[in-house]
């Protein structure tokens, strides 16, 4: 496998890809299968889910029973390596210490990036989500429509494997027949919530997640993805055959050694490497994009973290996919006489209009779920059901005090216990001895949680810029974050928590804690880890940074293929859209290179 050191890099590549997550992985896949020679720079270390994932370890086999610590914020076995809310030696700063302006930034520094851990929830944006400004006068339209991106959603779903159902709900697109894998059965708490949430007017349906509920059809899918290209079909077919179906145990957040869910490292990178056209340079932290005399991107300057020294690699085109914040940072740090305000920034919009997802949550305890007979509910290592946004009509009729939608992610299952006590002192009146064990058994599986994942409208006050003073351990200026929620988001959070309380009540349960509203209910900016935006795509070079194929207007051989170019952030989790866009961008780049335009 050509995982190489920086000194082994070739003289020149066709394309350099910065970042190896969903965006970088998809880009490498599409370009290398088409025959382009690519180098991938990844700031983190090489990582092998097949070898490194702790699949069946029990909590009593980990330090502190696996609970989260500052070193591993999502617990000991979390697939995230060298990452978290803080990365040692790589700080970021806040423009304000007002809690409402806080932005918290999750970064992964490893091959595959955040896709090793992510929740695998894979939803398509709907037609409205590409034209939000046209619908309600807020934010920005995308320069492309749902119809234009649809073929790439379908290809991405076929390649990575996504389970779910077609419900035909408003602005919640169906996939073409036969594309989605079968949904997993509902768990007790999920079925109970589904039945009773109807009383609160909330529909609950099968979620879409990138987990193989059966093996991919390696005999037919490759020909659909790469018509007429036998070599690509063979490589992709082999990669699909190397993935097992989910065996209904082990939490997906640890990663999957049998490649049954999507990680860039198990799905995108193996076929890309198998082409022989990809060199991956791990421990390579991109610092700036290099520019030639004609104002074109000519390569990337990076820190070889194994030596601490600077190195360069050259190419005919550069694709940035380092995650929105980091891509913005690289652009702003790529200053030159030609581009004194940072690269591709003639509009002054690089770093502007960064969005996260609106988060708010509430838990409840449901007596009907107490003392259920033991049964296996591990399932597909994450949620099976969710609620797509269901109030488009009410919103259109002006009945809601916020403009956009949210979906509900629900949790509740008899998942692996351990680490934290299953019983709190207050819920059991101080039980100890055999009575404690009775209480533990009674309460286990009876708790449910509901989380809002809602659309944030881009605003002038949420952006990132270079901090004038603070630098990282290599002396590279870091990002300073500005953040502000508008009333749309705050009112949405209130609506969500009240809805959750109504569902919990409809289930005959009691709310745990208090039902918070507005700024008390909403999670900090960044905490849902869906940061997108910062270099919007648009139709007008003065009002956007990228064109409809995410080439930057100023430098046409520089392409942004993570979430940076999103002009809006629908409630649908961003990653499937990042893949679809990256695929489309890469196909366009191939065409433009063939034509000699790039």
């Amino acid at each position: 496998m050509p995982i190489i050191e920086s000194k082994q890099a070739a003289q020149e590549y066709d394309v350099i890809i910065v970042g190896s997550g969903a965006g970088g992985g998809q880009t490498a896949y599409t370009l290398t299968l088409a025959g382009l020679k690519c180098a991938m720079l990844e700031a983190g270390r090489d990582y092998s889910p097949e070898m490194e994932t702790a699949m069946f370890q029990a909590p009593n086999q980990a330090p502190l029973m696996g609970v989260s610590t500052p070193d591993k914020p999502f617990g000991f076995w979390d697939a995230t390596v060298d990452g978290g809310w803080e990365v040692p030696g790589e700080p970021y700063t806040q423009a304000s210490d007002d809690p409402g302006s806080k932005f918290t930034w999750w970064r992964a520094r490893m091959l595959g990036g955040r896709t090793n851990h992510w929740g695998r929830i894979s939803l398509r944006n709907g037609p409205y989500d590409f034209k939000p400004y046209s619908r309600d006068g807020l934010g920005f339209d995308w320069p492309i429509s749902y119809e234009e991106l649809e073929p790439y959603y379908t290809k991405a779903e076929m390649l990575v494997g996504v389970f779910g159902t077609n419900e035909g709900m408003e602005n919640t697109p169906n996939s073409p027949p036969g594309v989605l894998l079968p949904p997993p059965k509902g768990r007790a708490a999920e079925l109970y919530a589904q039945k009773h949430a109807k009383k609160a007017g909330v529909p609950i349906v099968s979620i879409h997640r990138a987990v193989l509920t059966k093996t991919l059809d390696a005999d037919t899918i490759p020909a659909k993805l790469h018509p007429g290209d036998k070599k690509a079909q063979k490589i992709v077919g082999d990669a699909m055959r190397a993935r097992a179906a989910c065996f209904w145990a082990t939490p997906c957040g640890r990663g999957c050694s049998i490649r049954a869910n999507y990680q860039s490292t198990t799905v995108h990178l193996p076929p890309a490497l198998a082409t022989g056209n990809l060199d991956i340079i791990p421990n390579a932290h991109a610092r700036e994009v290099l520019i030639d005399g004609k104002g074109k991107a000519s390569g990337v300057l990076f820190i070889d973290k194994t030596t601490g020294k600077e190195a360069r690699v050259k190419a005919r085109a550069v694709v940035l996919a380092a995650s929105s914040g980091e891509t913005v940072r690289i652009l702003l740090n790529s200053k030159s006489a030609q581009f004194p305000d940072g690269l591709a920034n003639s509009s002054g919009l690089v770093g502007r209009y960064i969005m996260d997802t609106v988060g708010a949550s509430l838990g409840g305890q449901i007596p009907a779920l107490e003392n259920l007979p033991p049964h296996n509910e591990d399932g597909a290592g994450g949620s099976h059901f969710y609620s797509p946004w269901w109030l488009y009509k009410e919103q259109l009729a002006g009945k809601l005090d916020f403009a956009r939608g949210y979906h509900i992610e629900l949790g509740g299952s008899r998942r692996m216990p351990g680490g934290r006590s299953p019983v709190s002192a207050d819920s059991s009146e101080g039980a100890y001895g055999t009575r404690l064990k009775e209480e533990a058994r009674r309460y286990y599986g009876s708790h449910v949680g509901f989380s809002c994942r809602g659309e944030m409208i881009p605003n002038e006050n949420s952006f990132a810029e270079l901090d004038p003073d603070v630098k990282d351990k290599w002396g590279i200026p870091v990002l300073r974050w500005h953040w502000k929620w508008s009333d749309h988001e705050l009112n949405m959070a209130t609506h969500a928590t009240k809805t959750f309380a109504a569902i919990i009540e409809a289930m005959g349960g009691t709310v745990r804690g208090t039902v918070k509203t507005g700024k008390d209910a909403i999670d900090f900016g960044g905490s849902i880890i869906h940061e997108v935006g910062g270099a919007l795509m648009g139709a007008d070079p003065k009002k956007s940074v990228c064109n409809a194929w995410n080439q930057t207007w100023d430098v046409n051989n520089l392409i942004l293929s993570d979430g940076t170019a999103f002009p809006s952030n629908a409630d649908k989790n961003p990653t499937l859209t990042i893949m679809a866009l990256a695929w489309r961008n890469a196909e366009h780049l191939i065409e433009e290179m063939k034509k000699g335009n790039v």
Binding site: M51, A62, A249, N376, P417, Y432, T434, L436
Partner: protein
């Protein structure tokens, strides 16, 4: 066995070597900027200071308490903690006693950990172990571990529910609550604890059937996914 192994019976030599290797690795990492000064000072003085397991521990492996940082319970504290853990989680029809599942070692690991949250817990647990010892001496002129079950219960009943504890038992109640949380967290981290609570899983299956009919009937629901 050589002399250096004998000198520190509670910390196996291979563990010390592991800490040493971790420390050295940290120092060798280019640009590693947040290496704590006190750990460096401790190493200079020849004492292995407790640091965390870092942002990239090898996770696909089985660990035991004491592998990453030294356990710090004194023999007396361990004795009290063991007795109390077994009062809270005794052997019964649900499963074995806490001590047979190494729960006291996990509590020791917890209160010895170099992380802020656990260190805060240690500030409650360590004085609490002394409080309950003193209380046992005061009431029965015996150590807590040597009390009869009735005597142990007499003390625990006064401190088991923070909301109802009398003012003189507030400190004891705060301790009991914290100790119980950690002990139960550890107990249910084990396969025996899983059995006790009714967790069935962590086993590869060919297909996932969802809840059995008996469960669906009790909840009055039907399986909605074909």
């Amino acid at each position: 066995m050589n002399a250096s192994e004998d000198s520190s019976p509670r910390i196996p030599r291979r563990t010390v070597l592991k800490w040493f290797a971790a420390t050295t690795a940290a120092l060798n990492t280019p640009g590693f900027s947040n290496f704590p000064a006190d750990a460096a000072a401790a190493e200079a003085s020849g004492v292995a200071a407790a640091t965390g397991y870092g942002t990239d521990p090898k996770v696909n492996q089985i660990y035991n308490p004491g592998d990453f940082w030294p356990l710090t319970f004194t023999p007396e504290q361990k004795k009290t903690a063991t007795a109390l853990a077994d009062v809270i989680l005794p052997a019964d029809d649900f499963g074995p006693a806490a001590s047979s599942l190494r729960v006291p070692d996990f509590i020791d690991e917890w209160v010895s950990a170099p992380y802020g949250s656990q260190q805060n817990d240690a500030k409650v647990v360590i004085p609490g172990l002394k409080w309950i010892e003193d209380e046992a001496q005061k009431r029965f002129s015996k150590g807590f571990a040597d009390l009869t079950p009735e005597e142990q219960t007499a003390i625990c009943d006064d401190i088991c529910w923070p909301r109802n504890a009398k003012p003189e038992f507030k400190e004891g109640a705060r301790f009991f609550d914290k100790f119980r949380q950690i002990a139960a967290g550890a107990y249910y981290s084990t396969p025996e604890g899983w059995k006790a609570i009714g967790y069935v899983g962590n086993l590869p299956l060919v297909q996932f059937d969802g809840p059995p009919q008996e469960v669906l009937d009790r909840l009055g629901v039907t399986q909605t996914v074909a």
